[in-house]
């Protein structure tokens, strides 16, 4: 798995953006807080301030990029799995979450620093904005495929909001993992398995659809 991709990439002069991101992570890890100012940060890094602004405009931006790097490497890692294409949509989502948590693991200390102790799952934190866009795009493809294979039923109004629901699940799993204290995060594994299964059971055709259908029939034929 390419879980260590973000942290362990060789430092090359050719990629200053990468260098800044790594230095930022190091700084947060060592000092336990964000750098005070961009000026001070670049001075310690021994690069020119313009170079920083060429790639980012604020520290928030750096954080967003760090998270979206982790997301990209997750997508790359699951797509590289041979069996990935044979997976059902349910299994694809499961694979995503397992791999995602795995890639978070190598950056856990940094993540614990930046995620506040109490995460509100209904509000997307600023540093996840890029991840959300990428994730929603990926989920949209997944849902399209799932509708074709009838793993997910199309329902008026609500089926357009499925991607939002899955994003909430994403935040839930992240929050669960942050608080998980079990050995090698086995409880998070269980949380993923169960919540994804629940999500797909809800999105798939169920007794509720049959009830609505029957209700409609009665209403129209009385």
């Amino acid at each position: 798995m390419e879980g260590t991709a973000v942290k362990k990439k060789p430092r090359t002069k050719a990629n200053p953006a990468q260098k800044i991101k790594e230095a930022y992570i190091d700084f947060v890890l060592e000092n336990g807080s964000k750098p005070v100012s961009i000026f001070k940060f670049v001075k310690e890094l021994k690069v020119k301030e313009e170079l920083f602004y060429d790639h980012f405009n604020s520290f928030d931006n750096v954080e967003k990029e760090i998270w979206s790097d982790m997301f990209e490497s997750t997508i790359k890692a699951i797509s590289a799995e041979e069996v990935y294409n044979e997976y059902s949509a349910r299994e694809k989502l499961l694979a995503f979450f397992y791999t995602w948590i795995e890639s978070l693991k190598s950056n856990r200390s940094f993540i614990l620093q930046s995620i506040p102790k109490r995460m509100k799952p209904e509000i997307t934190p600023y540093y996840l904005e890029h991840v959300r866009n990428g994730f929603k795009e990926w989920v949209a493809d997944l849902l399209l495929e799932a509708k074709e294979t009838e793993e997910v039923t199309t329902r008026p109004i609500i089926s357009d909001r499925y991607d939002d629901a899955i994003w909430l699940q994403f935040l839930f799993i992240l929050g669960f993992w942050v608080k998980d204290d079990s050995k090698s995060f086995e409880k998070t594994d269980a949380a993923i398995e169960k919540s994804v299964n629940l999500a797909f059971d809800l999105m798939g055709r169920g007794p509720l659809d049959a009830m609505v259908d029957f209700g409609k029939f009665l209403f129209q034929n009385r």
């Binding site: 798995m1 799995e81 041979e82 069996v83 044979e86 997976y87 349910r90 299994e91 499961l94 694979a95 397992y98 791999t99 795995e102 079990s182 090698s184 086995e186 409880k187 594994d189 269980a190 993923i192 398995e193 169960k194 299964n197 629940l198 059971d201």
Partner: protein, 439 residues
């Protein structure tokens, strides 16, 4: 196999499951007594069957140790009436599988590689459910392998599960609280050992090498390099499980051959190795087409301490059962009776246990024993009923029987039970010291 959509895991969910079953079982009793008012000749058979169905249905939805307890209770025919027994032995065959991505994840956690990278082929769906995991089929070169994978978090849930089973077990098995504590500890350590797959591989290799000289017996080869805390890789054994084997209606000669291998295997483990494969569940044996017995799953191994072995197995000598003070002494060592018991109690318990040991020791009192003899087993069940209904046993302040006996009894009941289903005639070899005095 249909993949189960949700497995109740949190303690609350599991508890809810048990409560539901408890309520149903209660309902069955009401139903039974209501029927009995109308029809006084009604026996308890119907009630037991109702109970078994409800209990089984809810246990099969629970993974992990609850299932294990179900299997264990299914073995102890003496504790459970026949109707329960049939239902429970199904537990082995119907546990639901977990998703493939989780399997991949488990592999990556231990080997840093996915199963498809390690093996030439790897089945996406589980081929079999084991009680705390599932089995996938893999190939490497021309070798067919079985890969057993354990569910995450099983070890964690053992303790909370046992707490849940506890009140349930008191009712179901008519045990008193004291007995239960006495045994629960033993069960807990054994269950925790079972979740340690590295230990299992170690023991499997040790025992299968030590028993390699026994005729008509085979073991899979284990691959420690592809095994880890929650993964075991071994050779795939082709053949039929016991039930399927019996359905093919094999001739008496084949039955005897399989039965004899089974007997020799246990005889050698208990009396020579002094550690035993304590899970003689029918699902753990695979019989090849030419009648060779394959043994899998060494998760549950009981080491027999000398201070238990000596008194306990001295009871299989027929002459021992008529020896007066010596027998008393042995019973005390085994905690069947205590010095503090009243004379009346002492006499009662000694008598019942003497009868029981005489009955269970019967195969040892002859050179050859026909396990197909159902009347013998009927006697054992009756004995079990008598003990479980006995007021004295239930109200006894002290636990009767050493805790080491729990798994040894289970092993023997399992063994007898399987031999009975096989209808095998077996030359009952005995340890040398017993052979000299016996018969």
């Amino acid at each position: 196999m249909k993949e189960q959509s949700k497995i109740p895991t949190s303690k609350v969910q599991r508890a809810a499951k048990f409560v539901k079953t408890g309520a149903k079982v209660g309902g069955n009793y009401v139903k039974h007594y209501a029927k009995k008012v109308v029809n006084p000749s009604l026996t308890k058979e119907g009630l037991h069957e109702d109970n078994a169905r409800d209990i089984y249905n809810s246990l099969s939805e629970l993974k992990g140790s609850a299932l294990k307890v179900a299997q264990m209770m299914s073995m102890d025919k003496n504790m459970l009436p026949t109707a329960y027994q049939d239902k429970f032995s199904m537990a082995q065959y119907s546990a639901p599988p977990l998703s493939y991505p989780l399997v991949v994840k488990t592999f990556q956690q231990y080997f840093k590689e996915s199963p498809s990278a390690i093996f030439d082929t790897f089945s996406k769906n589980a081929k079999n459910a084991a009680s705390i995991g599932q089995v996938h089929e893999a190939t490497q070169g021309d070798k067919k392998l079985a890969v057993k994978i354990q569910y995450p978090g099983v070890a964690d849930s053992v303790k909370s599960d046992l707490k849940l089973v506890r009140p349930f077990a008191v009712r179901l098995m008519n045990l008193n609280e004291k007995d239960l504590d006495h045994y629960m500890e033993e069960v807990e350590t054994k269950l925790l050992e079972e979740t340690d797959y590295l230990l299992e591989v170690e023991r499997s290799i040790e025992i299968s090498e030590a028993c390699s000289h026994i005729e008509n017996l085979r073991f899979p080869k284990y691959y420690p390099q592809f095994s880890a805390g929650r993964v075991i890789t071994m050779d795939w054994l082709d053949g039929k499980v016991l039930k399927e084997f019996i359905q093919t209606n094999p001739d008496q000669e084949t039955r005897d051959k399989v039965g004899q291998a089974m007997w020799d295997f246990y005889d050698y483990q208990i009396h020579s190795l002094r550690q035993v494969h304590a899970d003689p569940h029918p699902g753990n044996f695979i019989i090849s087409d030419d009648g060779v017995l394959g043994v899998i799953d060494f998760g549950c191994v009981k080491v027999i301490p000398d201070e238990f072995y000596d008194p306990y197995f001295s009871l299989i000598r027929k002459d021992m059962l008529t020896a007066g003070p010596e027998l008393d002494n042995t019973f005390k060592q085994l905690q069947f009776i205590y010095d503090s018991d009243s004379v009346e109690d002492k006499a009662y318990f000694s008598e019942v246990i003497k009868d029981m040991m005489g009955l269970l020791g019967q195969p040892f009192h002859q050179n050859e024993f026909d396990f197909g003899d159902d009347s013998y087993f009927q006697k054992i069940f009756e004995m079990g009923e008598v003990i479980s209904e006995s007021k004295k046993f239930r109200e006894s302040e002290k636990a009767r029987g050493a805790r080491d006996g729990l798994y040894i009894n289970r092993t023997y009941f399992g063994l007898y039970n399987i031999l009975n289903e096989l209808k095998a005639r077996v030359r009952t070899t005995k340890p040398e010291w017993a052979a000299r005095v016996a018969v």
